[in-house]
Subunit: 318 residues, 2 copies
């Protein structure tokens, strides 16, 4: 497989792994005989819901924060986020001892603002529109000189997320297929880069909610189409695919499939019941891919990334 | 500490560990900086909710089943249970390839009957009274010659449950206190036996729901009083303390405290949110003890047993 010179490579992921060791967890791989029997396959769940801040985002944010030189770092970091990336960046900044500014819509759940604030970050509230988020972030940067860390369209973030696959392939070397949810595409791009460099014969299969299927459509068309009006319970996957991420994905991903929300909820509940682990809707999308497309996986050794476990226990979808 | 000759000892627990290795999981120990900060202590959660059948009961049942000689085993095993012990005995019997008969009240949740049946056991329904359960079990034994395995008042079961502490002390040797929920007392008796044999200076502290506090009262009085009309969300801890268990507990347990149900629910929810792991109400009782009696634990290294993770996701207590 040819590699465009500007795409992140295995080196960057290996460097990220060394850089973030000690700052993030090496997460466990769960197995379940019951779920293996249900799917007629051997399943290996990489539990990024047990990662710091409850999601793989801790990896990319930590790699970005610890990549900064001293002068850059001293001015702090900033982002806009209503989800896991904000908490991850705040956590990484606290570990480096630098300021973090997280722009969040005023309508974000109080529990999410508290999570970010609990890591010592400054929460800057704004109107709940993308325009307001971007202009508020620009203001923060102008006032503080903080360095912006994008949640997914950034080579340092992609490399950090790729460490998920580096670990998984150490824990379970002989996988036939690795299954990853796709939203902005940082996790997918990083995982695909690691897998295709280390085990080119292993299939990289992405799963996307049918109600936010821009990656599926972009992959099929060969050109990036934005996500408009997403409608899915998987709130972490409503974003449009990033530009750099799309370039990586075109080169290194084998397959993208979609799943309806009802199957995402079924997958989530099965994982809660059988693995005894909390999986957020976005985190259950990889397993939903198996339930929706069982014929693709029968008899195979399947690695599945559970991307996160943060959700409101008062708003469960059943 | 003197030891009455008929109480189970460390030997029995070490033999149990060898006997059940390969049939049950070595469960992980979870930590959380956030919960450590909340409690001003170092917490080590022994995750028996990730045990086979979702509870520590797999250990005692496996030890009992694999202790039987060939002739006994061939006639199968039997018990009455509306909870985790029935599933555990069914699982262990399947692994040994022998029949299991589990007497369950007709009113038990369908999901519980299905769980037992899914391990290949015969579910025998009866009226939902203790008298009916016992007479139905006696009938089963008469018809089949099956060997009855009591859920907790049995030295083989106590020894099996004690392997929880054997593992925990290997995983975290220098604990100041080990915290265990108490219902029938099998887990507590086993854990106390292992801890006091291996690390006599480590405190063994049991926690009981205030609405089913017969162990607390019995321990204080120095004589066993039965539990009548239990009223607690912790359905696994509504039973009366077993006779043998009480004898062990009197010798080897340092402290028993009680907790109200509201704190059990708070503990459960905090564990779900922070550890991302499913804990049933009974399983959250040990951590509830910390929340209710923080002064006992401040600055100490605390091992806590999460005893199980089986519950109905449609009946959450919030």
């Amino acid at each position: 497989m040819s590699q465009a010179p500007n795409l992140p490579g295995l080196n960057a992921i290996e460097e990220a792994a060394a850089r973030i060791a000690g700052h993030v967890h090496r997460t466990p791989v769960y197995t379940s005989r019951c779920l293996d029997e249900l799917c007629a396959a051997e399943l290996f769940f990489k539990c990024e819901n047990l990662q710091k801040v409850g999601a793989f985002k801790a990896r990319g944010a930590s790699n970005a924060v610890f990549s900064l030189d001293e002068a850059q770092a001293a001015r702090g970091v900033a982002t806009h986020s209503s989800g896991n990336h904000g908490a991850a960046l705040a956590m990484a900044a606290r570990r480096r001892g630098i300021p973090a500014h997280v722009v969040m819509p005023a309508t974000a759940a109080a529990v999410k603002k508290e999570a970010v604030a609990s890591y010592g970050a400054v929460v800057v509230e704004c109107e709940p529109t993308l325009a307001a988020r971007e202009s508020t972030l620009a203001q923060v940067v102008e006032q503080t000189g903080a360095h912006v860390v994008h949640p997914y369209d950034d080579p340092r973030v992609i490399a950090g997320q790729g460490t998920v696959a580096l670990e998984l392939l150490q824990q379970v070397p002989d996988l036939d297929v690795v299954v990853v949810p796709v939203g902005g595409g940082g996790l997918l791009a990083g995982v695909a880069t690691a897998v295709k460099a280390l085990r080119p014969a292993t299939e990289v299969l992405a799963v996307e909610p049918a109600g936010a299927d821009d990656a599926f459509r972009s992959f099929g068309l060969g050109e990036r189409v934005p996500q408009t009006s997403p409608d899915t319970i998987a709130d972490g996957l409503r974003t449009s695919l990033g530009e750099l991420n799309f370039a990586v994905i075109q080169q290194r991903v084998d397959t993208i499939v979609t799943v309806p929300d009802a199957i995402i909820v079924r997958a989530m509940r099965l994982q809660w019941t059988r693995l005894k682990t909390l999986v957020e809707p976005s985190g259950a999308v990889s397993f939903a891919g198996l339930l929706e497309h069982p014929e693709r996986f029968r008899g195979r050794r399947v690695g599945l990334v559970i991307s996160g476990g943060n959700l409101d226990l008062d708003q469960l979808p059943w």
